[in-house]
């Protein structure tokens, strides 16, 4: 790494091909995990109405539920975001990928971890039902190795960049891989995880995995893909810098809001509430920056599906995070905590924000990398099915969760909160079905962008507007 960053390795056509293959492979395997993880999710949703359906040992609800969350988190979302991140980092730094070999090694490690984790959970090896870190520790070690390899590769690529300045996307992606490593390592060390200590680490982990791993990667893709598609620069570099540092200051602390009213120290809980409110600063600064970059292109949002995906991603980032702030207030916790409202919230954020961001980035960037487009109809079908499905899912569980919470406050017999949810579980299932069908369409689109026959969609990059160049 002694070579000067000011002297980038020149990018050859071979390098371009290697990068394109890496991007395609990450996207393809990520898509397979999406199909598998959401198929399991759909089955789990179905079990709410038919609890005796496939109640056998390896298919019981409590084993499938963590398989669903872990495979969409660490199989699907992680692979999709990192695949696109390789492309973004190499292109925005104007250099070749530091090592295609390391990228392939990372891909293998991520997939091995996800397969082994799925098998382990199905066999009943669950690390104490601690959300999003249920895989037994040896498997989480493989995941940590995968993140480390990826971080090394991405940071080394940035070191060889052509320009002096480091573009904003790389701030988020570069810091994100380091934060991700810290999170995973803190969560795996057992010495300070006894009783309440374990509870404190769980609160930290649950939200930092989301906020300091998935969020920075997705935001990094936004900063590259949105200006790219619109063919205009980002609205404000300084707003992006503000959002970056405030996100870092406020996000790490807010995990404690999962354990409000628990015996965790009151200062930790109060700090979590305050930081949840303070998150308004980075969320509004970030969202405003993206939306202002899109200003005057309302028409384009309908015309260009890559932009439509990114637009929904930004909106869900704004709404989902603001909703999270509200949920963290103690008065509203009384009503919503432990209810299905939180399940709706996690889908609004992990699906509406992170997943739509990943899809938007793939539709915007993969055709530029492979030279193949998806079909326009395929993209439209994917977009509307996913959007309507998610809307039904989130609305049903938000209303249902409120009803559930109200039943508890009324001290109705518990079973009432179960029977009252029936309708909402049904609508959630219908929404989930639409989402799953959209994923099959997405898989077809990915195939056309990689190995299949190119489709009829136009280039994801829009024509620049002559009159409004800032």
């Amino acid at each position: 790494m002694q070579s000067s960053p000011l002297a980038p390795a020149s990018v050859t056509a071979e390098d371009e091909q290697a990068l394109s293959r890496v991007f395609s492979a990450y996207t393809l395997t990520g898509t397979l995990w999406l199909l598998f993880g959401t198929a399991v999710g759909l089955l789990v949703a179905f079990k709410f109405g038919a609890p005796d359906f496939w109640a056998e040992k390896y298919l019981t609800f409590g084993r499938l539920r963590p398989i669903h969350t872990n495979s969409v988190f660490y199989g699907f979302a992680t692979l999709m975001l990192i695949g696109a991140a390789y492309h973004v980092v190499a292109r925005s730094c104007g250099t070749r990928l530091y090592s295609a070999k390391l990228a392939w090694l990372g891909l293998w490690l991520f997939n091995i971890a996800a397969v082994a984790g799925t098998v382990a959970l199905s066999l009943g090896y669950n690390y104490g039902d601690l959300e999003y870190r249920e895989w037994p520790w040896p498997i989480r070690l493989i995941f940590i190795a995968a993140v480390a390899v990826t971080g090394w590769n991405l940071l080394a690529t940035m070191l060889h960049r052509a320009s002096r300045d480091l573009y904003l996307s790389n701030w988020y992606i570069g810091a994100g891989v380091l934060w991700g490593s810290i999170i995973a390592i803190v969560a795996i060390i057992p010495i300070y995880q006894h009783g309440l200590g374990m509870m404190a680490i769980s609160g930290y982990y649950m939200h930092n995995a989301v906020g300091m791993w998935f969020t920075p990667l997705a935001l990094g893709l936004f900063y590259y893909a949105i200006p790219k598609v619109l063919n205009r620069p980002i609205y404000s570099y300084s707003l992006g810098v503000l959002a970056f540092w405030t996100n870092l200051m406020f996000y790490p602390l807010l995990g404690g809001h999962h354990f409000l009213f628990s015996p965790l120290p009151w200062w930790l809980q109060t700090a979590a509430v305050i930081c949840s409110v303070a998150m308004i600063v980075p969320v509004f600064a970030g969202s405003a920056n993206y939306l202002l970059t899109m200003r005057g292109r309302y028409h384009g949002r309908i015309e260009s599906y890559p932009l439509a995906f990114l637009f929904i991603g930004v909106l869900c980032y704004l709404f989902g995070s603001t909703q999270g702030t509200l949920e963290a207030l103690r008065s509203l916790q009384d009503l919503w905590h432990f209810t299905n409202f939180t399940v709706g919230h996690s889908h609004l954020t992990m699906y509406g924000f992170v997943t739509f961001a990943a899809w938007g980035a793939v539709y915007a960037l993969l055709p530029l990398s492979t030279g193949k487009n998806p079909g326009r109809f395929g993209m439209a079908t994917h977009f509307w099915l996913a959007l309507v499905g998610m809307g039904m899912y989130v609305i049903a569980l938000s209303i249902g969760g409120s009803v559930q919470g109200w039943d508890w406050i009324q001290h109705a017999p518990f079973i009432k909160s179960v029977t009252d949810m029936k309708t909402y579980y049904l609508w959630r299932g219908i929404g989930g079905m639409l989402m799953f069908v959209s994923h099959i369409v997405f898989a077809w689109n990915v195939w056309r962008m990689t190995f299949g026959k190119s489709g009829d969609a136009p280039s994801p990059i829009m024509e620049p507007e002559a009159e409004s160049t800032p």
């Binding site: 960053p5 109640a55 409590g62 995880q193 309440l196 200590g197 930290y204 602390l253 001290h411």
Partner: protein, 463 residues
């Protein structure tokens, strides 16, 4: 290079500092939190059960976390840091799709109920959406020695054979039954351990006038009683007795009825059926007004038409005094009322509650050397207590007398035992003797009625 170190290195370093301050250092400190009063480690069996619980993801639908919020006021006292000493993994949960389990060992304290519910939740709760855990059970043609078949209602039982729990199911049930909050001395919430419904619902008048609130009674019955006795009051044949048409419930004198709700019941024959499961006591869980509301619901529903009671009546029975309108308690031997409100020792009696853990520990240290932990004794040397007629007798006189005064050269089931049993009257007080006797009367398949320290005092005084 410099800019990258400044931005990305700085961001990572700053994050590391924040993580140390808000996660790692607090966790190091919190891991040292000492155990609260009465908080004990799990037994190996219960710890095995906790593994089964985690492996099957029970914590994804069931919390074990009572908060100081209105919604949780009827679940027990709010968690205290000392509750977590032996809870690694914590299993606090994040969703309450099913009910909170913090006190399930108290509210669903019957192992029979737990087995039926695990085998098919809809056998006891028709609207439940919990999956069945039939894979934790085996179906056998003949019940092996030392195993007990789960008394399933016919429509939920397999067509052939008997259902017996596997080792995993037994461990899981042991773990569930161990989930009970301990009392914190000096801490009180509305007088009783744990909140009560009427305290939290402002619409209910507290104190003595709550008895007439039928909606309250129906709701309390539904959350505390219907799991076993069913919303229809019909119980589950062979597993849980019916309250509809039940003689005690219909009795004009409510003493026995109140007493059973307060103190629980075990091994009693009702209409010729002996029930294996134990009914847990509710005295520590509900206040007088709530218990009166439940009792009145039972006395006036499903065709039952007995006179209602007041919170004052419940208080009277709780304190061992006769209820307000004293109908002389029948001394009917068939009922064998453990209340016996007339005896002078009644106050002490109702204050006593059999604590299975205490009984188990005393038995282990005092009796198990000869009679064995399995209650089977040693053939030819020490007699079995399991199935022993003196232990099973409804009249505990001989059983208690043997513990107090010892025995020598007695023939039991045709076998004469030559080694003498020493008297324990000198080293154990009445309550300890009662604990041991109750342990013996309710273990290894034995199901005789509980005795009280007053019973022991009576036998002790006889000689």
């Amino acid at each position: 290079m410099k800019e990258m170190i400044k931005i990305i290195g700085g961001a990572a370093l700053l994050y590391l500092v924040i993580v140390m301050l808000i996660a790692v250092l607090p966790a190091i400190d919190l891991s040292k939190t000492p155990a609260g009063p009465g908080v004990v480690p799990l037994t190996p069996l219960e710890a095995h059960g906790r593994q089964v619980f985690a492996a099957n993801g029970c914590a994804y639908c069931h919390t074990q976390q009572v908060r100081p919020t209105p919604a949780d006021a009827n679940l027990g006292r709010p968690m205290s840091p000392g509750d977590f000493k032996y809870r690694t993994p914590v299993l606090a949960g994040s969703e309450r799709t099913g009910p909170d389990l913090t006190n399930v060992g108290t509210t669903r304290g019957s192992d029979v109920w737990q087995y039926i519910h695990l085998y098919d939740p809809r056998a006891v709760e028709p609207d439940s959406i919990m999956p069945n855990f039939k894979f934790l059970f085996r179906v056998v043609d003949t019940v092996p020695e030392g195993e007990t078949a789960v008394p399933l209602p016919p429509q939920f039982a397999p067509k052939h054979g008997h259902v017996i729990p596997t080792a995993d199911a037994k461990a899981l049930v042991a773990y569930l039954l161990s989930l009970k909050q301990t009392k914190i001395p000096g801490y009180s919430m509305n007088g009783a351990m744990g909140g009560t419904t009427s305290a939290a619902a402002p619409s209910t008048a507290g104190g003595t006038s709550a008895a007439g609130d039928t909606a309250q009674g129906a709701s309390l019955y539904s959350s505390h009683c219907a799991a076993c006795h069913q919303a229809s009051g019909a119980g589950l044949p062979g597993a849980f007795p019916p309250l509809k048409g039940n003689a005690v419930v219909q009795d004009r004198d409510p003493t026995e009825h109140i007493h059973v709700v307060l103190n629980g019941l075990h091994g009693k024959a009702i209409d010729g059926v002996t029930y294996g499961g134990a009914m847990p006591p509710f005295a520590g869980l509900l206040n007088d007004a709530d218990i009166a509301a439940i009792i009145n619901h039972e006395r006036t529903s499903w065709g039952n038409a007995a006179p209602t009671v007041t919170a004052a009546d419940v208080k009277a029975v709780r304190d061992g005094k006769p209820v307000a309108a004293p109908t002389t308690p029948a001394t009917a031997p068939a009922v064998a009322s453990p209340t016996a409100a007339a005896t002078p020792a009644a106050a002490e009696k109702s204050a006593y509650q059999f604590d299975a853990k205490r009984g188990d520990a005393l038995y282990a240290s005092t009796c198990a050397a000869c009679h064995q932990a399995s209650g089977e004794g040693l053939p030819g040397a020490f007699p079995p207590l399991k199935g022993n007629p003196a232990v099973l007798a409804d009249d505990p006189a001989e059983h208690l007398s043997t513990i107090l005064h010892g025995v020598h050269g007695k023939t039991i089931n045709g076998q004469t035992y030559s080694s003498p049993m020493p008297p324990f009257g000198g080293q154990l007080d009445d309550e300890q003797v009662a604990d041991i006797a109750n342990h013996e009367r309710t273990s290894w398949g034995n199901a005789a009625r509980h005795v009280t320290p007053a019973d022991v005092a009576k036998i002790r005084a006889r000689k």
